[in-house]
Structures are given as C-alpha cells and as structure tokens.
C-alpha cells in the first residue's frame, strides 16, 4: 500500500477564478452583472444626453397639465379641462373594461365552440372548425378593423329610426337600439326604495350560498339529492321580483330615445367598443376553443366509461369526472389567452377606442411630445396587469396540481 500524503493546501491563484467551480460561477456572474450594468448605463446615458439636447429631460410634470381633448367613453368623470393624468386613468379603465368584457365573452364563445367542435353532429363540428381556423390564421388587427367596418356599414344609422317611414326599428319593446354608432340599451334608474330591492337581491345571493351548503350537508347526511340548480335559480329571481313589486317598482329603466342627432338616455355602448370587444372575443375565443377541446380530449375515454359503468349519467359524468380533470388542463392556457387578449386590446387604437394606448400612448403623447415618459408609463401599466394575471395563474396551477408518486 502506498501511503497517501495530504495534498498541499491550495492558495488562491488568479486562474482559480476561471477553473475553480466555486469561483468560476462567481466570476461569470460578476462579469454578467458588469456587462449588464454597462449596457444599461450606456442606454440611460444616451437617453439623458439626447433628451437634454432636445430640451425635454425626463419629467412626469406633463401629467398634471390640462389635457385639452375630450374622450367619448369614460367610466369616471372627465372633461377636456382635466389633466393628462386623469385622461390616462380614463384610458386605463377603458382598457380594463374591454379586457374584462372580452375575457368573459371569449370564454363563453370558446367553451361553446370547443365543445361543439367535439360534437357528433358533423355539420356543427365543421362549422366550428371553420370558425376556429379562420380566426386563428388571420391577424387580429385585420379582424378588428374588419369587424369595425362591418358594424358601421351593416347596422342602421340613428336617423334611420326617425320618422314615420323609418327603415329601422328598436328591438324588444322599443328598449334596445342597435345602430352603427353603437348599441343603446336601457339603463336602470334607482329611485327611493330601490335600496330594499337591491338588498333583497344581495340577500338572495347570500341565501343561495347557504342553501347550497345546506343541500350539500343534507345530501351527506341523508343521501338525498336536491335539484340545487333550479332552486338556486328560483332564489336568485323570485324574492327580488317579489320585493320589486311590493315596493312599487322602485327601479325604472331609462329607455334610449331618439333625440336630435342621436339616441339619448340609456346606456350607450359605442361601436368602437363593440367592434373591439367582438373582435377580441371571437379571436381569443378561437384559441380558447382549441384549449377547451384539447382539455376535454385529454381526459381519456376510459374515465367516461368507468363512470358510466358505475351507473353515473351524462351530465353528472361531465360535472363530477370529466370537467374537474379537464379544468386542470384548460385553465393555465386559458389564462395565458386572457393575457394575450389584454395585450391585444392595445390595438384599440385602430378603431379609435380610447384605451390606455389611445389616451396615454396616443393623443397625450402627440400633444405633449413626451414620447419617453408616455411609452414608459404605458409599458409599466401593461406589465403590472400581465404580472397580476400571471400571479393568479401560478396560484391556480399550484392549487390544482395533481398528486403523483
């Protein structure tokens, strides 16, 4: 046996920075950091120099200046004498509005189309394939402008509703007007006493929650299964309706009426909103349809068969076995579709919908010439929105992860 001598203790040598795994990673990171900082510093320095040369150093003071332009759709109080900051806020809210509406309808459309695409009705399945492929393979911007054009060209103008020989008529008992300037729908006006009705409504919702809990407990105890859906539906409507009549109909609808150039009263959903909403929903819906289809297909046929063999029936198999499994597959890509929809809503600019890109990144940018600040703020807003949505997604993913060995 040869004796093993201790190897000499190492002293630090420069080459260890490169060859010693312990220092090597440190070296690389420090170099990366330095390079990164240098690049950032270079960019910032250039920007500062350039902006200074143009005489407009980075400053967000313009947000406090008078905007001077009007915005047609505003969810909060706004007029042309308010500030650019306020205008940006109006735009941001408009973005969130169309994103929210879009996500809801895209989900509905997508789920329908996805399920119908799996339908055993050949024609329906084919129509849905055409819809899905058609929308997925044509740019969304084209859809937005095209649908905008459809809405404004095919629907009648308000003037067509006028006079005795009107060529267009309002729908549903003269309460809804579909015009090429948008849709006018009745608006609820809350009069005195309406609080009670609203309260009843809220209570019914609470009631539904409790009823469901009770029904579940009862089922667990006695095994009896109640028609929870129908009863919930009844609780949802009946007490409120009852209260509504008891209180002497305190909520009245303000109907849109033709006055002057336009309809007045009611809620006006502008055609830019409608076109954008529709285009985004249909476009994203096509993607969601694919997600839904593959999600349902991901649940193997054996699961349905096993449930059937146990004696479960169609809708219950869907609710208890297929959907819970499909959801895990469907939800994550669906949320990233929501993300895409939100980002695509920035194309509102093509149809004059005054979202964040239209106000902050559009007119404000043009009027003030503050490109740097406006674009930065715009990016920041979208970034925060996206991160918030992905946070929800990550949370969901973690929550439903299948347990495996």
């Amino acid at each position: 046996m040869t004796a093993i001598t201790d190897p000499p203790k190492e002293t630090f040598r420069l080459s260890m920075l490169l060859y010693d795994t312990r220092y090597r990673s440190l070296t690389i990171q420090v170099i990366a950091l330095i390079c990164f900082m240098l690049v950032i510093a270079w960019l910032v320095d250039n920007a500062a120099t350039n902006l200074a040369a143009l005489g407009k150093p980075l400053s967000f003071g313009f947000l406090g200046e008078i905007a001077g332009y009007d915005i047609n759709q505003r969810l909060i109080e706004y007029n042309s004498q308010m500030t650019h900051g306020r205008a940006a806020l109006v735009g941001i809210l408009n973005t969130l509005l169309v994103a929210l509406l879009g996500c809801i309808t895209a989900t509905i459309i997508g789920v329908f189309a996805g399920v119908l695409r799996l339908s055993n009705n050949w024609i329906v399945a084919r129509i849905m394939s055409v819809y899905v492929e058609g929308f997925r393979n044509v740019p969304v911007l084209l859809w937005i402008v095209a649908i905008f054009a459809v809405v404004s060209e095919t629907l009648p103008a308000p003037r067509a509703f006028r006079g005795d020989d009107a060529t267009a008529h309002m729908l549903i008992n003269d309460s809804v007007a579909l015009t090429n300037r948008g849709f006018y729908i009745p608006k609820p006006i809350f009069e005195s006493g309406s609080m009670i009705v609203v309260l009843t409504f809220i209570l019914s919702i609470v009631g539904i929650v409790f009823f469901r809990k009770w029904a579940k407990a009862r089922q667990e105890a006695t095994g009896e299964i109640m028609p929870v859906g129908w009863i919930s539906l009844a609780i949802f409507f009946l007490p409120t309706l009852f209260m509504f009549y008891i209180m002497g109909r305190p909520i009245v609808l303000e109907y849109p009426e033709l006055a002057g150039f336009n309809f007045k009263g009611g809620i006006h959903m502008r055609n830019s909103l409608i076109a954008l909403w529709l285009a985004l929903s249909l476009y994203t819906g096509a993607f969601i349809a694919e997600t839904v289809r593959s999600g349902i297909q991901a649940v193997s046929k054996g699961q349905t068969e096993a449930a059937g063999a146990l004696g479960l029936r169609g809708p219950r198999i869907m609710r208890l076995v297929v959907l819970p499994q499909a959801m895990r597959v469907i939800i994550p890509p669906m949320i990233s579709q929501y993300l895409n929809l939100t980002k695509n809503s920035s194309l509102a600019i093509a149809v004059g919908y005054m979202d964040a890109t239209g106000t902050l990144g559009g007119i404000t940018l043009n009027q003030t010439g503050r490109e740097m600040e406006c674009v930065l703020l715009l990016m920041l807003f979208y970034l925060i929105t996206s991160l918030a949505i992905s946070a929800v997604m990550n949370w969901y993913n973690a929550a439903v992860k299948l347990k495996e060995r």
């Binding site: 143009l54 047609n72 404004s152 103008a157 090429n180 002057g260 150039f261 004059g352 559009g362 043009n366």
Partner: protein, 316 residues
C-alpha cells in the same frame, strides 16, 4: 451638414403621410403623388438636380416628429400645422406655408344643419394625432354645446365611418374635407359648414440648427410661389431660362446674380425645382385644384396679388 449628407447620399429623405388623397399617396407603380410630395420633389431637384431622387418615408401623426428629429428624414412635408410649441418647444423650423388651412366641418345636407353651432349632441369623427382634437374641444366648450367625439387614426377609416353614417360630422382641415368630399359618389349631398374654427397654416419643416438647410427648403418653396407670381410656368421655363428683361426672373433662374451660390447650390437650382412639376399654381391645380376630383378652390391660397395669402419674399 444636412446638405452635404443629402448630396452624399444622392437622395432626399422626405417624410410624408401614409396616405391622404391629393396630398400624398402612392400610385399603382409605387410613385408617390400629391401636393406635399411636389414640395419634396422640388427640394430634391434644387439640391440634387433630380426630382425623382427622393426617398419617401411614410409617417404617422405619432412618428413624424421623431423621424425628423432623429434624422430619419431630412424634410417633413406632411400637412403639419405650424404652431408655437412645435416650432419652439419641439425645436423644428417651419420653412414656410404651402397651404393655408383651417379646421372645418363636413356634414350631410339632409342633416338640416347650417352652422356648426347647431351641432349640439352630434357625433363627430376626428382624425387624431393632430391639433384637431384640441380645437374641437375648445370650440364646443366655448359655445357651450355637447358632442360625442369619435377619434380615428387614418383618413380612410374616418371617411368610411362618416359615409356609413356612424358620425354626423367629420372634422379635420378644410382642405382634407374638401378632398374627401370630392371623392364621394354623391358629393353634392354633402357640404362644408361655414365655420372654420382654427388657423391651420400647413408647411414643410426641418430640424432646428442647420440654417443652410432650412434656407434651401424655405427658398425652394418661395421659388415655386414666386414663379407663379412672375408667370414662370413649366411651359415657358426653358424660354425664361434663356434670360428675360425682368431682373427678378433672371435672378430666380440663376442667369443673373449668384443666389444659388449663396445657398450652396448650383445657379439653376430654382429652375430645376420649378421644372419638376411647374410653379406653385400648377402644382396646386394638378393635385388638388378645381380640375381634379378634389376640386379645391384657391381661396386663401391664391397669390396675394389675387386676394390670397400666398406671398413670397423677393428674390434679391
């Protein structure tokens, strides 16, 4: 300097709109045509001797100033309103005015409106990215009436919205309105309201800081205007170039004096500029004048001698 850069490149980079009837649009062969385009070509001819040595850069309302400031274009001829802040704050030099415009309103005749003040509650299509929104807001505010603004990015879209009756009124510069109206199938069913709610002097502009370059642009434009005033047309240009007994024409043609040299150009620079498409009046007539489908009358844009505002400082 810009002049040297342009001469070295052999081509003038000129910013225009992405498409506005009569002012700038590409034809089927990709040749740009229009009133603004003619200014670009004239400057190119003056500087490079060739009216086709222009690279047209389509710009939007948002990108136009950046394009000019960053040197992406050497000259911006994109019906841009000369305002204080653009001149002073954004640091551009407007070299003159090639079209006196003002914001107007286009409506259908059967709307039964004869004045903009009767537009209470109307839906108004606006082309964004210009001074239009501000003027509009001010006008309606000042008159205490309400309106519903519909902002649209491009003229083509706005026109479509107006025609399909999605808005009652279309507002933009009156020249644009007239041009748009002219292309309607039933142009007679539409009219411009009498109110012009703003001054919109449109002109080409260059960057601050290169006086030689701004002088070239300014005096090329002036040469076109003077040519009309002095009766120099594309038809009689070669004749005039031989020399006349009007010393101002001679100076313009470069047969007398050394104006070209002072600009750093050749003596016949103005001749070449005028040679591209004729004088100001000819350009006007060819692109937007009454003989074209656009059919704009000279109006304010007539020579000062004809009661208009078009006026060139003397060449001397």
């Amino acid at each position: 300097t810009t002049l040297e850069d342009v001469q070295a490149a052999g081509v003038l980079k000129c910013g225009v709109t992405t498409g506005l009837v009569g002012f700038a649009a590409p034809d089927a062969n990709g040749n740009w045509e229009g009133f603004d385009v003619a200014v670009c070509r004239a400057v190119a001819a003056a500087v490079l001797g060739d009216g086709n040595a222009v690279e047209f850069v389509p710009t939007t309302g948002k990108t136009r100033f950046t394009a000019l400031a960053s040197g992406e274009v050497d000259l911006l001829a994109r019906n841009t309103t000369w305002t204080f802040s653009r001149d002073v704050d954004l640091k551009f030099t407007f070299v003159g005015i090639n079209y006196y415009d003002g914001q107007g309103f286009l409506v259908r005749k059967d709307l039964g409106v004869s004045s903009a003040k009767e537009l209470d509650g109307a839906t108004v299509c606006i082309q964004t990215g210009t001074t239009t929104e501000l003027n509009l807001a001010d006008f309606f505010r000042a008159n205490g009436i309400s309106y519903e603004p519909v902002p649209i990015e491009t003229n083509a879209e706005a026109q479509q919205q107006y025609l399909s009756n999605a808005c009652d009124v279309y507002t933009t510069d009156a020249s644009g309105l007239a041009a748009t109206r002219a292309t309607f199938e039933d142009a007679d069913a539409h009219m411009l309201l009498p109110e012009i709610i703003s001054k919109e002097p449109l002109g080409p502009l260059v960057r601050h800081g290169d006086e030689q370059w701004s002088d070239i642009a300014r005096w090329t434009l002036n040469a076109l205007i003077s040519a009309e005033e002095l009766g120099v047309t594309s038809a009689n240009l070669s004749e005039m170039a031989k020399g006349t007994n009007n010393p101002e024409i001679n100076r313009l043609m470069g047969t007398e004096g050394n104006l070209g040299e002072m600009l750093g150009l050749e003596a016949d620079w103005a001749q070449k500029a005028i040679g591209v498409a004729g004088n100001y009046g000819e350009i006007f007539e060819a692109n937007i004048g009454e003989s074209t489908p656009i059919g704009l009358a000279r109006g304010l844009n007539a020579q000062w001698t004809q009661g208009g505002l078009i006026y060139s400082p003397p060449f001397r």
